[in-house]
Symmetry: C2
């Protein structure tokens, strides 16, 4: 069968585009930079949402919904935020269309101009803190721990499906606290939630760390991040959690009376992950045959393909297959029996490989005689003949093994692609020839960071949490440094 | 305790506004016409989503996501659709802001004008059919049955929380079929799904029917609707399902090769319900004390309030309460034990009444001695002393009873507020003095319908499905009619 994907070795970026399209995950829409998330892709996103939603609720958060539009003036209220967010964005200026007086379709009604333009939210700190102002009077009203699932728009010039699109789906948590300590604690709790989710569900190992001032969220005092490594050696920022200090409370005048009766500004955090995680999932595990999905996020975990020559054979196989379906469904395993008569087994095998279904069962008449099935696992492409008796337990174990194996493989790859370097020549050589995370000393200044970025396209991904302290010299300036930071070229 | 709500008898609309705000369901935002859905309101919406999502999946639908923005020209492609939807909407004209050259905050960058304006979707038929064009070649690609959960914007001048807001949340299903019959079947299936949901979950009885041409969705050949009656005698359209014929397929040139090898246009449906259902839920059941929630959609189904004088008493009560919580949680009942020491029992009673929690347990020390608790039901406000032994079964039964009772009460109200009238004077008298659904003969012309609407503000809500045929005369023109239709003043 002809390969449907460009091999990764030929062009990693073409392979990615091919895969997103061919596996029916997403496609570009008629609106520049906006994607259509197709049912199969959306089903994976829904699984992510469901797990994250549970994790958020377990850590004491509730969902709410805030407006899509933000008055332009709100952005000007927080000085750094306006620099970071109020530039490339969709601006609503009018609220009515009319028939073209010249009879050519419809045109914007010039009389329906808004007094103040509205911005389609690129992130919601401003509108939410303007709302929280009315919810908070006393320390008894705190903490507030809201999350919202929403679409946001950032007018990106260069877009790539899931990784960078003008509109994307995400969740954004916004919390309000009476003390600095509690807000910092919340920021850390959420980066830990994200790291757990990435490692246990996406099966993507991540490094937790703090961003440098250059890479901080606009308006934050500290940005925590989880950084993942893709198969092409580039980093992908996969989730961030921001300690916002009192910046937004001051910008929107949100004060509270503390237990001692004194008035103070409220402390804030915000944190988010987006459909970008779909990109991480795809790029971290998949191969030249298609997607490789971790079982915990696979919309179909097991597919059963019958191999038959006649209607009678199919019927016999169906009897057995349906019993297996029922057994697995009882154990909450999502299983599909594909008895579509219009497609051949070979086509189905390739299709489910492309779609990353973790486990495939093939059942032929000889299997029936022997009381066995053929089981193929997507991650290693290994096949085994297995007894039907006790198959549910076998598959539950296998799904666990696959989940673990995918993670272990990604972890091993990351370990191999993490390099300590001690001078700038070596730094550039590793970036060009090997890629991956490069651990190097840095003098701590934004200027050095900026110069390295301009010269090598590598950025500081983060300063890892609980980083090992080690005396060294900045690779660019030779100035003293106390720890290595993680550099990489990134998406 | 002072009543927090304006009584319904004094002002129904003020009562509604009070209730939405005081029960923490939603509030107006800083953006005109856009609401903030607060955590308690959103929790109810999430429950609705979860049930509907299951019902959609059971009827063979999958979720997907399409762009927020629609190119202006797309609206002009379907003649009726442009009249209905491309008028009052949010128009994005620019994609960048810049610092004001005069130093006054930020302004729209005049150089960043879009070549073609983008409309924030008021509904997604156009962008979706433009997408389906690429998904459909042959009858083998059909049916396509996608749903999306999304926000939409219609620039309403007069807004009311949940009932009519500029931005609202909804789901919109969009299906594509190879035959007219299958599309009509789908349209009916979905109005039945909506009716089931309304009656079994919202506990709101609805009349299923077809809209007249005047009231049809812009671009539809037929619009099916479910119509509910609120306590003030006004109707609320609660869900619609549209048979779109081949209108959108023709507008976007979506053809397919049928089984005989001939090329034809694809048949379409669309259907949706929105956060307006929150309005229906609130207005159908609630009373002057607050919300009355049907147990199946209540975020908290049972609340336990301890009545105690000392810490020791609270501890003893807590032991018992926690056992009850655990028993009920095991049965998937959402239960809250409110041991907040800062609020008095009386305050808690009023609060949970306001929030519509279906069942309240109060436990005092005397109850412990007797092995009983006091159970109050929200719908009838009745209280009973019940043995702790076997309380889980008692509560499960009670929740069922409450769900049924709320529906029965609403059904009885609707029956009482449905009136057959045979002349125009009586028609107007009933509308003014009694309200409700008015069953009357109509000559079938849009002109008569329009005149009645102008003179009485009553519209034809629907022609009921399986309507009884009966010869009669139009209340306005005296012309012959074969059936009664349902008139009402509506939200």
């Amino acid at each position: 069968m002809a390969k449907v994907l460009t091999p990764r070795s030929e062009s990693y970026s073409q392979w990615y585009n091919d895969l997103v399209l061919k596996a029916d995950l997403a496609e570009n829409s008629a609106v520049r930079g906006c994607m259509v998330i197709k049912p199969y892709g959306y089903a994976i996103w829904e699984k992510m949402q469901s797990v994250l939603n549970r994790m958020f609720k377990e850590t004491g958060h509730v969902n709410a919904y805030f407006p899509l539009f933000i008055p332009k003036s709100f952005f000007s209220k927080e000085a750094n935020h306006v620099e970071g967010f109020a530039k490339e964005c969709a601006v609503v200026t009018h609220y009515r269309l009319m028939n073209d007086p010249n009879g050519k379709g419809i045109v914007v009604d010039p009389d329906a101009k808004l007094e103040e333009e509205l911005i389609v939210r690129p992130t919601s700190e401003t509108i939410i803190w303007n709302t929280y102002k009315n919810w908070i009077q006393s320390y008894r009203d705190l903490p507030i721990k809201c999350n919202q699932w929403a679409n946001v728009v950032r007018w990106e010039m260069r877009t790539r499906l899931f990784l960078r699109t003008a509109e994307f789906l995400w969740q954004e948590g916004h919390t309000a606290h009476d003390t600095k300590e509690e807000a910092i604690e919340e920021t850390k709790t959420m980066i830990n939630v994200y790291a757990d989710f990435a490692e246990k569900y996406l099966a993507v190992p991540v490094i937790k760390g703090v961003k440098t001032a250059n890479e901080r969220f606009a308006g934050a005092l500290d940005t925590y991040t989880i950084e993942a490594l893709m198969q092409d050696g580039k980093a992908l920022q996969s989730g961030t959690s921001h300690f916002l200090g009192q910046n937004f409370a001051k910008a929107f005048d949100v004060t509270f009376t503390n237990a001692e009766g004194k008035i103070d500004y409220v402390w804030a955090t915000s944190w988010g992950v987006s459909t970008r995680l779909m990109g991480a999932l795809i790029m971290a595990h998949s191969d030249d045959n298609g997607l490789v999905l971790p079982p915990k996020l696979a919309p179909i975990q097991v597919v059963i393909v019958p191999i038959y020559k006649s209607k009678e054979e199919l019927e016999k196989i169906s009897d057995v297959a349906k019993k297996i379906v029922s057994k697995l469904s009882d154990k909450n395993i999502e299983v599909k029996f594909d008895d579509n008569d219009k497609k051949k087994p070979g086509w189905k095998f390739a299709e489910y490989e492309l779609k990353g279904v973790p486990v495939r069962l093939a059942i032929g008449t000889r299997d029936l005689e022997n009381g066995t099935v053929e089981i193929a696992r997507r991650d290693t492409l290994e096949k085994n003949i297995v007894a039907i008796e006790g198959i549910d337990k076998y598959i539950i174990d296998l799904l666990d093994q696959i989940q673990n194996n995918i993670f272990t493989k990604a972890f091993k790859f990351r370990t191999e692609c993490t390099t300590k370097v001690d001078n700038y020549a070596e730094f550039k050589k590793v970036l060009d020839e090997k890629g991956g995370f490069v651990l190097a000393h840095w003098d701590g200044t934004p200027e050095t960071e900026q110069q390295i970025k301009e010269e090598t396209k590598a950025t500081i991904r983060c300063i890892p949490l609980n980083n090992e302290l080690e005396d060294g010299k900045c690779i660019l300036t030779g100035k003293p440094s106390k720890q290595r930071v993680i550099f990489a070229r990134a998406y």
